[in-house]
């Protein structure tokens, strides 16, 4: 993160969910979403990440970006644990539609149904969709 950290809030902890819906490298949404996720962790908020639609591709093993001249940020998802971000939810239907199983993913996740995902979203104070 290049920007300076802003002042801490006075102890308010809200439930933030970041909903990742886009493939990792076709657009910049996934990368810039991760930048907000890391900042929110610095604010000590209750952060969770949801991966739906093409967003499930963000967590795929074996991504190699050499041929597209873009920096791979896959390892950042592995580092989230170090920021106490451990709630990663992946939409089951999105995985199945793309032929992806949990073994294909680089981090431990909770695979949930669309209905369970809706309940999780309903519990949040702030939902940011990228």
């Amino acid at each position: 993160m290049s920007e300076e950290m802003d002042m801490e809030e006075g102890g308010t902890i809200k439930k933030f969910m970041f909903v990742n819906r886009k493939a990792p490298y076709g657009t910049i949404y996934a990368l810039e979403s991760l930048e907000v996720v890391l900042i929110s962790a610095a604010f000590e908020q209750d952060v969770s990440l949801a991966f739906v639609d093409d967003g499930v591709y963000q967590l795929m093993k074996g991504i190699n970006t050499d041929g597209i001249e873009m920096k791979s940020f896959a390892k950042t998802y592995r580092a989230l644990e170090g920021y106490d971000i451990e709630k990663l939810y992946v939409d089951r239907e999105s995985m199945e539609a793309r032929g992806i199983s949990e073994d294909d993913l680089i981090v431990d996740v909770q695979v949930v149904s669309a209905a369970e995902m809706a309940d999780l979203m309903n519990e949040q104070d702030v939902v940011l969709s990228f």
Binding site: E4, D6, E35, S40, F43, L128, S129
Partner: protein
């Protein structure tokens, strides 16, 4: 109610900024508070003072600026997203050794912490994007 607004898409290319503006205007007309408008992703391009749309079209940048000036809105452009897209204010331009700046004076540049803070402080954070 206290609203935060996040604009994730650039002007004209996408309706997100138009919708966000109309939402902000309607909310203010109903007596609600807009705590902050945060521009992220290509949304940072909404702050270019060099924008010149055809004369018979809406001027998205000036329209935001007029609303902000009238209601003392805090309009923040993400510095990291702005830098990689060639958007900078006078200070940042000097710091980077550039020969120009392009951020409209009704906007200010700051970090992603300002977005997280809006999520914490506001009753609702409304996201306008793709």
């Amino acid at each position: 109610m206290k609203f935060g607004i996040l604009v994730n898409e650039g002007p004209y290319q996408h309706q997100a900024s138009d919708s966000a503006y109309l939402f902000a205007k309607a909310a203010l007309a109903k007596g609600h508070e807009i705590f902050r408008v945060f521009f992220y992703h290509d949304g940072v391009n909404n702050a270019s003072r060099l924008t010149v749309p055809p004369a018979d079209d809406r001027h998205i940048v000036n329209r935001w600026a007029a609303l902000a000036d009238e209601h003392k809105l805090d309009m923040v452009v993400c510095i990291a997203a702005a830098q990689r897209r060639g958007m900078m204010d006078d200070n940042e331009s000097k710091r980077q050794g550039k020969d120009a700046d392009n951020i409209h004076p009704s906007f200010r540049i700051s970090g992603l912490g300002q977005l997280v803070e809006a999520g914490i402080q506001c009753d609702r954070l409304v996201v306008f994007g793709d």
